[in-house]
Amino acid sequence: MADLCLEVNNLRKNFGTFEAVKGISFSVKKGQVVGLLGPNGAGKTTTIQMLLGIMLPTSGVVNYFGKNFSKHRQESLQRINFASAFNTLQGRNTVFENLKAFGLLYEVKNLDKKIVELSEYFEITALMNQRYWDLSAGQKTRVNLVKSLINDPELILMDEPTASLDPDIADKTLTLIEKLRAERNLSLLFTSHNMNEVTRICDEVIFLDHGSIVAQDTPLNLTKLITKAYLKLTFEGDHKKVESYLTDKNLKFEFKGKNTVAVETEESLIPKIIFGIGEEKIWVLDIEVEKPNLEDVFLTFARKENKTDVT
């Protein structure tokens, strides 16, 4: 219990008869990065809003650092922070003015020094006197991250922090987050639609769909839920022999040219297929194997194929 930053028990949100979040439970440990994934309408944002206290749950309990959030709101919010691509700071005010106001809201000691340190770390010193609404998307993201660190939080809730950024800036932002995590042992609850980001940054992934958790595991273990892989072979020899072999084995395949075939199969059967084709006196020139990734898992759950509840 002591090393849990966030513990969610049976959290539920109903809008009239519609159940947006259906009694979900999960936790975030100290130093852990947990990804909250799901298609649009899965309940991610509603969950985050309840965790931040800007939406009241219908039922359920949220504990931060072992204390009930509804009873210890101020104490909990003092130790966490929030960053989102969808919430911006006060556009009319400069970056410094925004950070100053937020620093006071968190009662930060030596605030000016803190703002200088963070702005140097995130390389936004030159932006301090610019109005927030004049910044580019990448600059705004960095300023939002500074805001989210102003109170030295132990847990940050990040709602798609890299949405609307180009790949280069998104990569730099992610690198900064990784660095911060390593240096400060930060815990993160991270939502994103970018599966590469999630694979890169998250220790654990929670898939939400229609308000329920449909899968929860490490990114690697989740990809193992999808047993299908794609094998692409380029060969020399009679393609009819290849076709006959694959038909005999009841495999799904498609010729991509006279001497190239793509086979959809279980990952564990790939060596057997290559060996079997070789035994047919076919000379295999090139082998490409496409293993399932987190995106395949996401699409599988989102499209409700092969749904496996592993929670």
Partner: protein, 261 residues
């Protein structure tokens, strides 16, 4: 209650105010233009009926206290909704009491500064000395009008939180709905009997009645002002209760989070 958090909000409000042409126009420009325009009207009519001219001009100047306090109390939320920053504020340890306290202080200070400024303009340009009603009287009028405007502003804020920024126009217009019935420019006795009952249920009515009387005799009408103050306490408590209901409902329905679009 944290003074640091109240200071943080006041600082944000201060930055928005001095950098926003809209706020400067809504507050300072509008007040000065009203003062000047009706100052000329006062000069013109005072030669024929000085009492009537004074009633009108004093009512206008004192109405600015209500307008500015109520506008400021309600409007900070809208600046933050339009900047998609309101949620950011409320995911900090900021309490709703601290938030309202900051808006109330901001409203009272802005109204006080602008009222003193336009009063000096009125005296300097048109020789209308509102201070002739007595400093204590003026202070008590200001206190009562400010508390009433806080109550009204807090209620409007609750409506905006609950129903969204489509009700944003209430922040700068709804209070004028009461202007005809709170005897701003004329005695309550002018109003139809049924409307008089409503008028006497509003705290500013007693302030405006006292102010008109004070132009002739500047002694404090403690009876009227204590009724005004008592009604103010009642409406203030009512507005806090109403706001809490609206705020809770907006968090239950999800409207609070949706306000930012």
């Amino acid at each position: 209650m944290s003074l640091s958090r109240i200071k943080g909000l006041l600082l944000q409000e201060f930055y928005i105010t001095y950098q926003s042409l809209e706020v400067i126009m809504d507050l300072l420009f509008f007040s000065i233009i009203t003062t000047v325009t009706f100052g000329f009207f006062y000069s013109y009519t005072s030669s024929t009926d000085k009492t009537l001219a004074s009633y009108l001009y004093m009512g206008l100047l004192m109405m600015e206290i209500i307008r500015i306090t109520q506008y400021t109390t309600s409007l900070n939320a809208l600046w933050n909704i339009w900047s998609r920053n309101l949620s950011n504020l409320f995911v900090t340890p900021l309490s709703i009491t601290e938030y309202l306290a900051a808006q109330m202080i901001s409203g009272a200070v802005k109204a006080g500064v602008i009222f003193v400024l336009i009063s000096f303009f009125a005296n300097w340009l048109f020789q209308f000395n509102i201070f002739s009603v007595g400093i204590l009287n003026l202070f008590l009028f200001y206190i009562n009008l400010v508390i009433f405007s806080w109550s009204f502003g807090i209620a409007v804020l609750g409506i905006i939180f609950k129903f969204g920024s489509r009700f944003s126009a209430f922040a700068w217009s709804l209070v004028f709905l009461l202007q005809p019935i709170m005897a701003t420019f004329y005695p309550v006795s002018v109003l139809p009997k049924a409307i008089q009952y409503i008028s006497y249920s509003l705290p500013p009515t007693y302030v405006f009645e006292s102010a008109r009387a004070a132009l002739v005799n500047p002694s404090v009408n403690w009876y009227h002002l204590s009724i005004s103050f008592s009604l103010n306490i009642f409406y203030f408590v009512l507005s806090l209760w109403f706001f809490n209901q609206m705020f809770k409902a907006s968090k239950e329905t999800g409207q609070f989070a949706r306000n930012e679009g």
